[in-house]
Point group: C2
Chain length 214, copies 2
């Protein structure tokens, strides 16, 4: 398998965590989003959206969209499971996933922040306020869900797709210096995950294109 | 079952379509988003995010987040299937779902447009340009995927979760007067769905809280 990735992309980070949890090997192809490398014609042919991640499977299929890739990994590589067995429990995990992947991350990714700056003329203070607002909205609700369901990890006592999304979102919030003090349970889950080798292997700073000075 | 809904919410519309396709009966509880009724304490206790939809199942579970609800319906009520059988094909359908539900809809929903207006001081022209930009970005890529996979519906010749998301997004684009001429295949799929009784039953104007003058 080949994973098209960028070290600081939250969506690629989710897939890296799931691959590592499943024990799947994938060669990493990096695209520098700051240089718009993901908009190059060759890559657009693979992924018409021009976004990372994309996963090329061993049989030549090209999978796009991190949530679709996570579900595919769960179906093709069922062990260890990253969703509970019961349908109602699965829905709770997927609700955490969607809370992050639909209601938080899309508002704060690079292309949106660029639009705020360049098309709407937002200054750094306005952009920071925007970022903080959507993270606070999402984490306040996620904190309640984690309080209900966590026993170490976001849902229960084993890693799930919820952790695959929570950890990159916490990383992003820290990068933007958002105060996480109001969300002690989310912070505790992220800390718990940080001790797990799969989460360590997937960390942005462990990637071949990491640029700690950026 | 009880569905917490608002006639014009894209996310609730998705779930209404899936319920109708599955032949599931659900009482509808309406919340007027313009009056912030979804932020009332009683509803926040059900859904800490204060968003619609939420689905109360027959066994008393409360499900939130439209994508999680769609997957739950598919698992609990497998006929008719709204995902293909093959894992690779399922990933293609879920990629269309996520393209709409993660990369288009979250940027243009009511709470975001309010932020643009009230916190960033965007005027109507700037808000319209924002809406049109993200719809164009998403639909341009979705048009390529639909061209690859459609045989009447978004993926193949039967309704899928992709149609549950595509139809509300087209409705939203039309509501905002976005030019859909560059996306003839998406428009064709929406037209095809419009003839299906489940899609007609789920339409915003068929809802008890519909306000055609709004």
């Amino acid at each position: 398998m080949r994973l098209h990735s960028y070290w600081r992309s939250s969506a690629a980070y989710r897939v890296r965590i799931a691959l590592a949890l499943k024990g799947c090997e994938a060669a990493v192809v990096t695209h520098d989003l700051r240089a718009d490398e993901q908009r190059a014609p060759g890559y657009l042919n693979l992924n018409p959206q021009g976004l990372v991640p994309a996963l090329e499977s061993d049989d030549g299929a090209v999978l796009t969209q991190s949530l679709a890739i996570l579900e595919w990994l769960e179906e093709r590589y069922p062990a260890p499971p990253l969703l509970p067995q019961d349908a109602g429990d699965r829905a709770q995990v997927r609700a955490m996933v969607a809370l992050i992947a639909c209601d938080m991350h899309p508002l704060n990714n690079l292309r949106v922040l660029r639009y705020l700056r360049h098309q709407l003329g937002a200054d750094q203070a306005a952009v920071s306020a925007w970022i903080g607002h959507w993270i606070a909205q999402g984490f306040a609700a996620l904190e309640v869900l984690v309080a209900r369901h966590s026993r170490g990890f976001a849902w229960g006592d084993a890693p799930s797709l919820a952790d695959c999304c929570l950890v990159p979102q916490v990383y992003s919030a820290q990068r933007y210096a958002v105060d996480l003090a109001p969300y002690p349970r989310i912070v505790a889950v992220a800390g718990h995950c940080a001790g797990h080798p799969a989460f360590r292997a997937a960390h942005p700073l462990a990637q071949p294109d990491a640029d700690p000075d950026a």
